[in-house]
Amino acid sequence: MTSQIQNRRKSLLEAQHDLESQVETRTLELKKRGEELEKAVKHLSEIDASRARFLADISHELRTPLTILRGQSEVTLRASHNDPERLRQALTLVARKAEQMGLLVDDILFLARSEAGTFIVKLDPVVLQDVVTDVLFDSQRVSICLKQPAEPIIIKGDESRLRQALLIPLDNAIRLTPAGTEIDVEISVDSERAIFVVTDEGSGFTPEEAKRAFVRFFQGSASRGRAGRNTGLGLSIAHWIIEQHGGTIHIECLPNKGASVRIELPLLKEFIA
């Protein structure tokens, strides 16, 4: 009888121990799930905050050219009936601002579509030198010194997007380089990657600015107020495109002023010796 009771107690204790251990395991699991959920919520809130910030920035960036369009038109309408030169200047400014707003809207839409995942980057074999030749053809106004190997460098890429991405640092270099100064473009290759480097002698970035260059709407002090495509979104767009190609983009500040933008893209596997 006593032994039966003892056996019962023993099995009850074992069952209790087993139950406790199960509860402990479940509690740990629940805690882990809770932590995962917390992490996911935090991540989503960060995305949400980043979107809200982007929207606020868009609103801010559109308001400035709109203020000029509206103010310039209204002031001109009030005052310039007898001054054709003033009228011409005002209309020129209005046309230029409207064009800049158009570029800004294009860039905003590009980034919005890239975030929404509706952009399809089609990756086909592309000869890097051909893309660069096209890009340089579009920028033939300035003196560019091009160094490239004679052998074709083949990467996997979306040709039109690559052209867009490579044109951005080149456009920036042209905008910030004093007249009569050369811009260096160098294409090279290492064992796995194609390397495209644009170097200019312009006013460039400060090291602090270089760190923030890929932040949307960030503009270096030298870039503000310059003519040309200057939406503050170019390098963010280039960054996204290069990332879609499995590549990297970096900015280096040069000690004797100027900046160097380095883009590395993976070579087509079949092409790697």
Partner: protein, 130 residues
């Protein structure tokens, strides 16, 4: 009474149309593009009106406004901003600005606000225009 007006705006094209439009209305306009020496400039420049951009490259317009008031400036300060959130406006007004305009704005409204706030200051429209 003179109508000396200082525009503090880093965007040269915005400052330009404000300058042209307000000069045509009889204001004696000066333009600066940053907040450097602003307190002394307003104090010794005899400005009754300051149009102050909220975001300058070297300073916060709100901070400058607060310092102008702390320094005893009685100038009529109209703050411009490219952000339209209510708390932005309230924060701007709390720094001592007389009024606040969100970009883009109607030029006529800016003129009306200058006149309205001058009235609030105890001047008459005639004295403001003289």
């Amino acid at each position: 009474m003179s109508r000396r007006l200082l525009i503090v705006e880093d965007d040269a094209e915005i400052a330009d149309f404000l300058n042209v439009g307000l000069s045509a209305e009889g204001y004696q306009v000066e333009v600066v593009h940053d907040g450097q020496d602003l307190i002394a400039r307003v104090q010794y420049g005899g400005f009754q009106f300051v149009i102050l951009d909220r975001m300058l490259p070297d300073a916060e317009g709100a901070d400058l406004c607060r310092r102008l008031r702390a320094n005893g400036s009685k100038a009529l300060i109209l703050m411009l901003t490219a952000r339209d959130a209510l708390d932005e406006k309230l924060a701007g007004l709390r720094t001592g600005a007389d009024d606040y305009m969100t970009k883009p704005f109607a030029f006529e409204e800016l003129l009306a606000k200058l006149i309205k706030n001058v009235r609030g200051f105890g001047y008459t429209m005639a004295s403001a225009k003289s």
